[in-house]
Structure formats: C-alpha cells, structure tokens
Symmetry: D2
Subunit: 135 residues, 4 copies
C-alpha cells in the first residue's frame, strides 16, 4: 500500500488547480497534511484582498490529501469555512489539516489556515470514504 506522501504526490501530479495556486506540500501523514502557498495579484477580489475561494481551495486540497492518506479513496460531502482575517498580495499562508474523527464510511477534518501564526480561516470538512483504494 502506498504511503501518505506517495498518495499526496500522485494526487498533486494531476491536480492542475492546486498547481496553479502554487501549493507546496510541507508534510503529509496518516490523516494529516500541511500545505503552503503565496497570495498573487490574480487571486484578489473586488475589495483588493484575497478572494474567499483562494483560502477555501487551499483548505479543500489539504482536506483531500489528509482524507486520502489512509489509502481509501475519499470524497468531500460537506465543507464549511469562516474567513476571519483579510489577506493581501504577497501574504504567505499555511493550511494544517487534522483528522477529528474517522469511521468506516465517514470522516471529519478541521483545517486551520494561518498567516504569520495568526488564524485567517477555519475550515471543517466531512468526507465519504468510498470502497476504492490508491494503488
């Protein structure tokens, strides 16, 4: 069975949107993932700050890597995010995904998005664990 890093690498290789975001995998483990990226000009919204979809996307990639790390293919069924702090161009952000609960079919993860150790977004995601496996 592949390791968490092997699964994350396999996913990242074809994850063109995470590549566009400039996501780098800092670490990946059983049920966890740490990612980072930098806010670029084309990620801003009409208020001159990062679009809410940018931090969501980083957190959602962290959810995908953390939840697939056990080898069982998992798909998101419900996610929520609170944006607590605005981000500017050039800001570097880190997402830390943690497994809060895992049963046979359902698992729940929290993802903290930080900028200079300050929480900028709080994300919670629930996945359905399919019968498919990473090989």
């Amino acid at each position: 069975m592949p390791s968490p890093s092997e699964i994350t690498n396999a996913m990242m290789q074809h994850d063109y949107f995470s590549q566009w975001l400039g996501i780098e995998v800092v670490s990946s483990g059983e049920g966890s993932a740490v990612l980072k990226m930098k806010i670029r000009h084309e990620m801003l919204n009409g208020f001159g700050i990062a679009h809410g979809g940018i931090t969501y996307s980083l957190a959602d990639s962290a959810l995908a890597f953390a939840s697939n790390s056990h080898g069982q293919k998992s798909v998101s069924v419900e996610t929520s995010i609170s944006h607590t702090q605005s981000l500017r161009e050039g800001d570097e952000i880190v997402a830390i995904a943690r497994e809060e609960h895992r049963s046979n079919k359902i698992a729940v993860y929290s993802v903290q998005v930080l900028c200079h150790d300050k929480v900028v977004a709080l994300f919670k995601g629930t996945v359905y664990r399919t019968s498919g496996h990473w090989e």
Copy 2:
C-alpha cells in the same frame, strides 16, 4: 445610490480572480445574482474533475454580488457548500444566489450551482453588513 448592476460591475472590475475564472454576470438585482462560467483544464484536481474550490469560488462571488447589491458593503462571515455532482472539463455551470434573510447587520443567502439544470453544489452564506456604502 448605485444600482445592483453598477455595484456588481464596480466589484468585477477589480475582481481579478473572478476574471481568471472566466465568470460572466448573467443578471444582478436587489439581493440576487446569476453568474456563469466554464470548467477549464487548469481547474481540475487529482481525480480529473473540477476542484471543489472552483464551484465554491463561483458561489462565493455570487454571494458577494448579491449581498452588496443593496449598496451596503457586506463581508462573508461563514459559508458552507455540499458538492453533489462531479464536473468535467468543458462543463458550463450557473450560480443562482437568493437572499433568504436580511436584517440590519446580518444577512443569509443560498446559492444553487447548476449544470444543465442539475444541482451540482448547494451553498449557504452568512454576511456581516458593515456601515460602509458603495458610491
């Protein structure tokens, strides 16, 4: 006071991420917004389907336009999304934002994301209505 379309246009003009997504404004009204876009290759994830952040971003832009349409600057405080159907490259999607509740300080919106009249994502967003106004 500017009209809903004038506000949406002013927001879109500096919303570089919505521009990158290729979002087109179909219509905008008091408390509502209808947007559309097409899934491109660089929007796919490791499963070969649209990254969850893409539909979230479209819905979040619809929330921003609908909630700012009354002239009072509004910021998202909490959003959630259920992805109910996978999307492939070339799929065209439409987001329809509707105001479910509005009080002085808080308002709630639902956004349906459709592909060929099939629901592909269900989004709910709560905003805080600041004391600033669009001019």
Copy 3:
C-alpha cells in the same frame, strides 16, 4: 415496503424527545416532511426567547423523517442552522424539509422553519444512507 407515513409513525413512536417537544406530523412524503410545534416556557433560554436547540431539534427531526422516508435507514453526518428571528413563548412554528439531492450513499436536505410565514431558521443537513431498511 412501508410508506413514508408508516416509517414516520414508527420513528415517532419511540422518539421520546420529539414527543417531549410536542412535535406533530403535518405530512410526510418521499423525501419530505412537514412538522409543527409550539414554544413552551421550559424551552426558553437566558434571553427569554426560544433556546437555539429547540428550532434545531425540530429541524433535525424533520431531516430524520424526510431522509428515512424512502425506506433506507439514514443517519445525519453534518447539519448547520442559521437562526434568523427570535421566538417567544406561545409561538407556533412549522418545519418544511425538502430533498435537495440524493445519491446512493449521501443525500442533502434543506429545512425551513417558519412562524406565521416568516423564516425563523434555515437548516441544511447531509445524511449517510446505510444498507439497513425499514420493514
């Protein structure tokens, strides 16, 4: 296979908390449920209005009845609620559950809670559809 009403009746018979709440089933159908109840003194919180758990509980019962109505036993995996209006002792409220999406394993429902045709709470619930059936 039992009908939606037969399933709802079977569930209500042992649902001691829904009984304590004074929930009455107005109607039940395939993927839907309409319930009503009245706010009593012992349901108030420290602000003299209905505790948030009361409207949540009514909506959660509506979710349970609507999602089990197809005969497949279903359990809640994630729910969210926005309380948009305060409720006082004596207020009568109605919950209307609607199926927004249903696949083999996952289904999503929205529940509107109304008081005199005004929305007092907006609820969204995702369920996991188990392999067990109502008989």
Copy 4:
C-alpha cells in the same frame, strides 16, 4: 463589569431549557465554557439513541456562555455540528467551548462534545457581538 462566572450564572438562572437538560457549569472563563449533562430517557429518538438536538443544545449553551463571557451581549448567527458517535441513556457528556477568533463584531467558537474522552460531536458557532452589555 461582571466576571465570566457571574454572567454565566445570570444567564443560567433564566435558561429554563438548559435547566431541563440538567446542564451543570463545570467552569467558565474569558471566551471559554465547560458544561456537562447526562442523557435521560426522554432525550432519546426513534433509533433508541440521543436525539441530535440534545448534543446540539448542550453545545449551543456552551457557545452562548463562552461568547457572552467578555461582557458584550452576543447572539448566534450560524452554527454547524457533526455527530460522530451515538449516545445511550445514562451516558455523561462534556462540552468544551473554545474561542477561535474574536473581532469587534464577529467571533467564532469551536465546541467539542466528549463522552469518556471520545469525541461524540464537533460544533462550530459564529456569533454577532451586539452593542449591549451585561451589567
């Protein structure tokens, strides 16, 4: 200005539903609250386990006490909960509310509900901080 415990006591005194639930305040601090209660027969649902509204209600009370602890009256605007484990009659549960973010007008809290140190529910709540104060 009253202390966190004085505010919690003042709220509990008129919180008839928290009293019905048998909620006991274990501790209260600036932005935090720890509560406990026991599952009784009349709290069960049609599956013979605690109704989802019971754990939600405990978590929602913890949110109310934690968010009002700073002296500024705060009202819930959006809450979500994942039920991760079933509860039986006689089970004792503890809710631990933690402040994840607080700005002038909006604050976000997470609440873990535990039974024998096992997570049975994960709750997230966003409040609006009004201009009213506890005296």
